[in-house]
């Protein structure tokens, strides 16, 4: 286990070094990624220029939601972005290499890409989060920070599992482009705003099917003290992370079996 972790970080380091070979590209990608996130911040700031509360949430409280989602996804981008290369690898046969090495194929796939520019998103997310927390009236307790940290880490697991799962379509439909995984990944933007404003349909989807809400809205309500929030909501990130990781590993195994059954 320790050995696998060590190899994981070594492989990531290799990708990092590769990425730094192209320094200009790193900055452009980082700036581009940040600008994308900034769009929703700009929207928020403009929006709150005309409105004082959204579904009972203040601007700063909503920034907490934004920050949690951004940070979680940023970390995922740094460490597990290789899954977006799965389709290309399956199609050109590079995936075969993964099967003849004595380390788990999933680990190899995670480290297949260097998206170290994810650090931009992570930093922005943390800044936004801290800003939001500072300006909200938070009743700090001993568990506030641990819950927030747990939320971000579980958020990383969730976004990584979902992007992993959706990219596995490549096993069954190698010609499918990455439009579908991108679409699903983008649905996390719903969780950047309080779920109270949405209709019932979306609330259910974002809570149960694509549980982005479990790593932003529910824990935030608890920490920020918005409305009545039962204590067990502190565990929703764990539920989301656990369930999604389980689903991903089950489908991954199926996908591997399929690949070994039909080749490419």
């Amino acid at each position: 286990m320790v050995r696998l972790l060590r190899i994981f970080f070594r492989l990531q380091l290799v990708q990092l070094r590769s990425a730094l070979e192209y320094r200009a590209d790193f900055w452009i990608a980082a700036v581009g990624a940040i600008l994308q996130q900034l769009v929703s911040i700009v929207f928020l700031l403009t929006f709150f220029g005309h409105v004082t509360s959204l579904g009972g949430w203040s601007l700063w409280q909503i920034l907490v939601l934004q920050g949690l989602v951004m940070a979680a996804d940023g970390i995922r981008e740094m460490f597990a972005d290789g899954v977006w290369k799965l389709r290309a690898d399956v199609n050109d046969g590079s995936f075969d290499r993964v099967l003849v090495r004595p380390i788990p194929p999933a680990l190899q796939q995670f480290t297949a890409l260097a998206s170290i520019h994810g650090i931009g998103n992570t930093s922005l997310g943390l800044v936004v989060l801290v800003l939001g927390l500072a300006r909200s009236d938070v009743g700090w307790t001993w568990w506030s920070v641990p819950v927030l940290v747990l939320t971000i880490l579980c958020g990383t697991v969730l976004t990584a599992s979902i992007s992993f799962l959706t990219n596995m379509i490549a096993f069954w439909e190698p010609s499918a482009q990455s439009a579908f995984p991108t679409l699903v990944a983008l649905m996390r933007d719903f969780a950047k705003f309080p779920l109270d404003v949405y209709g019932a349909g979306i609330r259910i989807v974002i809570t149960v099917i694509l549980p982005y809400g479990l790593i932003s809205y529910y824990p935030s309500r608890l920490v920020l003290g918005v409305g009545d929030s039962p204590g067990w909501w502190a565990t929703t990130p764990l539920i989301a992370a656990g369930a999604s990781a389980l689903a991903a590993s089950i489908v991954w195994r199926r996908g591997l079996n399929h690949y070994q059954g039909v080749g490419n």
Binding site: A24, D25, G32, H50, L54, A179, L183
Partner: protein
Amino acid sequence: MTAIGSNTPAWRGRTTPGSKYLSLARTTLQQAIAYRITTFFNVGLTFIWVIILYYLWRAAYSGRASIAGLSWDQMRTYVVIAYGINALVGWRTGTAMMAAIRTGDVVFEMVRPLNYCTTQLARALGFTVVEGGISMIFTLVIGLVFLHIQAPATVASALLFVLALIIGFLTKVLVVFLVSLLTFWTLNGMGLMWSQQAIMQILSGTIVPLALMPGWLQFIAKVLPLRGIVSTPLEFYLGKSGGWDAVGLIGLQAIWLVALWIVANLAWKRAFRVVEIQGG
């Protein structure tokens, strides 16, 4: 042995310059049709924010009739149509061009007796038929069936809307073209695309109508050409502008279009020269 007749080579009789570009557009259209499912998802992707914005504005408008001069009906209409317009020129136009530059395939373009800028415009047209078509379906279904958007304010405003839309389409293609050209000097196309998309979303009035922006941002947005892509057509659609005001807006769009066209043509010729010096 192939029979002569139905397979006569296409070069027979096709020598007028105009049709060169049209046939390019047609080829791209065929490619785009092959990718229709991907396009469907990509357009659907952009409509996620339509849904988010719908709910957010609905919450904002509960308890008040107008914000910055826009009613709830008008705001809803604005959001849907803004994204519909944005989806007319999707991601494919820019990435196809950048990919050709990155892989070096662009050398084929360099040795053809064609205007590179017009070529990309023709390609964009090909893509837009499909991307625009699918976008229109989304706009009509989501807009009319689910969100009950308004029709154009008057017939005159509908006509002005279409005119501004066309100029805006050309403007967007030129901006995407200019940004994609940067790939000659850097390598990371995705970063450039993200930056351009983000800035465009803000300054064209897509994410938020210009009228709602803080003064300084509004000023910047009104001066730049990006507003002509989304904001100006919508101002006509909603009947917010007429008479001399409308003339002024269209005039501004046109001036920017010409300016961008000139810059674009200077830029690509410069880019090609740079590549030649470096030896490709």
